[in-house]
């Protein structure tokens, strides 16, 4: 199986460098295009004015934050199942990027919430709460890794935690959503999603693609330094 050729950190190291370079370039180009569409091409929103333009950062960041956790848990599961060294390294390389996007999603969400809802933070919104808990899950993963000195044990322990987390995420999401409907207090309407112009959607998708490329490039760079560190 040629798949396992690259499972060795040694052979993967140069490939990671190549991937990081090309994905980094792609990320820069796509971000330039996406931001251009977002700031100059997409029309001004009828209700929210210019404030809505943060959507081009906010929504792709939120997508990435969730996706990266699942990818991270998949690497972790692969590492536990096949006992490959690289899988644990990939999982730990992805965690900071995931946490970064979770934080960006929360931060931009707060900045967006101020002009549109009139408040930075709404306790009653299920998406905010689950994103916040996701951030804690990332922090827990990184903290557990950091406190174990033996890298192999750290990989395996963090892998188990990531798997437990990924099983819990849907449960957390739905329970928070239900809690939200129980506390029908917030007066802001979060469901009003006006029909989106095609250029807005394009801008968002291009930015999402840019974030994908950035995440891959960042993870590859980080996995390279992890390989060097442990060599």
């Amino acid at each position: 199986m040629r798949w396992f050729w690259y499972a060795s950190p040694q052979t993967f190291f140069p490939l990671a460098g190549t991937i990081a370079r090309w994905c980094g370039i792609a990320a820069a180009l796509l971000a330039a295009v996406g931001l251009y569409i977002g700031f100059f091409v997409a029309p001004t929103d009828a209700q929210q004015g210019e404030a809505y333009r943060i959507i081009f950062i906010h929504v792709p960041a939120a997508w990435m934050s969730m996706l990266i956790y699942v990818v991270m848990a998949s690497w972790a599961a692969l590492g536990l199942a096949l006992n490959t060294r690289l899988s644990g390294m990939m999982a730990s390389a992805l965690a900071p990027t995931g946490a970064l996007f979770t934080f960006i999603a929360l931060w931009t969400g707060a900045l967006w919430g101020r002009p549109t809802w009139g408040t930075y933070w709404v306790w009653g919104d299920a998406r905010l709460m689950s994103e916040l808990i996701l951030l804690f899950l990332y922090f827990g993963f990184m903290a557990l890794r950091a406190s174990i000195d033996d890298p192999r044990r750290a990989d395996r322990a963090a892998a188990l935690l990531a798997i437990v987390g990924v099983v819990n995420i849907p449960i957390i999401y739905y329970s928070v959503q239900w809690w939200n409907t129980l506390h029908q207090g917030a007066s802001v309407s979060l469901t009003a999603a006006p029909k989106m112009a095609a250029t807005m959607l394009t801008g968002m998708l291009v930015m999402a693609l840019a974030f994908w490329m950035y995440s891959i490039a960042a993870a590859m760079l980080r996995v390279r330094s992890i390989i060097r560190e442990r060599a």
């Binding site: 903290a143 557990l144 192999r152 044990r153 437990v164 239900w178």
Partner: protein, 222 residues
């Protein structure tokens, strides 16, 4: 297998009986935390009545988390845990027995004393049953989930704080359903839906957590 489980259960209960102070500490912590809230939020009875289910549940959650490090630490320190890992009995069963003993010592007293706190907070008496039932179903889930974290952080520096960081986010659904059931019952809607979901969580956690804990223990004592 059953004999091993019974043996572990007996042993752990006996150990707890010999050191009653530990049990009392967790219980006192529960009562103290719940008593601090009125000092923080004010003594307005209506407000206290409204926040009571949440306060009691958060206190139970913190108290249950605080007793987690003890779960495996002593066995780890004196080498018993290694014998359990090497022994013939399935580790999942041993873990389940240990958890049952732990819950009987650390969880059940919380359930028993919760109505007293509810009385202090002036909750209407018909809600006492729902509160106790929600804790009865919920605290074992807390022990089961928390034990995964306790096993993963076994013997690590800064274990206690780390354990909180790992475990508290995973406690969120239990907290929502537990406090929610009492609130729903208080609103006259009946808390059955939440209680059933708590029961479902308990079944799922009881089925899967012991094996996850066993895997975590093997990782931690390599």
């Amino acid at each position: 297998m059953i004999a091993a489980a019974r043996c572990i259960l007996r042993r752990d209960l006996l150990l707890a009986l010999r050191r009653r102070g530990d049990v009392a500490t967790a219980l006192l912590f529960f009562v103290i935390v719940a008593s601090l809230f009125p000092l923080g939020v004010g003594a307005e009875p209506n407000l206290l009545r409204a926040v009571a289910p949440g306060v009691i549940w958060v206190s139970a959650l913190l108290s249950s988390m605080l007793s987690l490090p003890r779960l495996f630490a002593d066995d780890h320190a004196d080498g018993t845990l290694e014998q359990m890992l090497l022994g013939a009995a399935p580790l999942g069963v041993i873990v389940a027995a240990k958890l049952l003993a732990h819950w009987l010592v650390a969880g059940l007293p919380l359930v028993a004393i919760a109505p007293l706190l509810a009385l202090q907070y002036d909750l209407p008496p018909p809600l006492f049953g729902t509160l106790a039932l929600s804790l009865l179903l919920g605290t074992p889930v807390l022990s089961l989930i928390g034990a995964i974290g306790a096993a993963l952080t076994l013997g690590l520096r800064g274990g206690g704080v780390l354990l909180a960081l790992l475990v508290l986010p995973l406690y969120v659904p239990v907290l929502i359903m537990g406090a929610g059931s009492v609130e729903m019952a208080g609103a006259g809607l009946g808390g059955q839906a939440q209680l059933m979901l708590l029961g479902a969580m308990l079944i799922v956690a009881a089925a899967f957590a012991p094996w996850a804990i066993a895997a975590a223990l093997r990782i931690s004592s390599e």
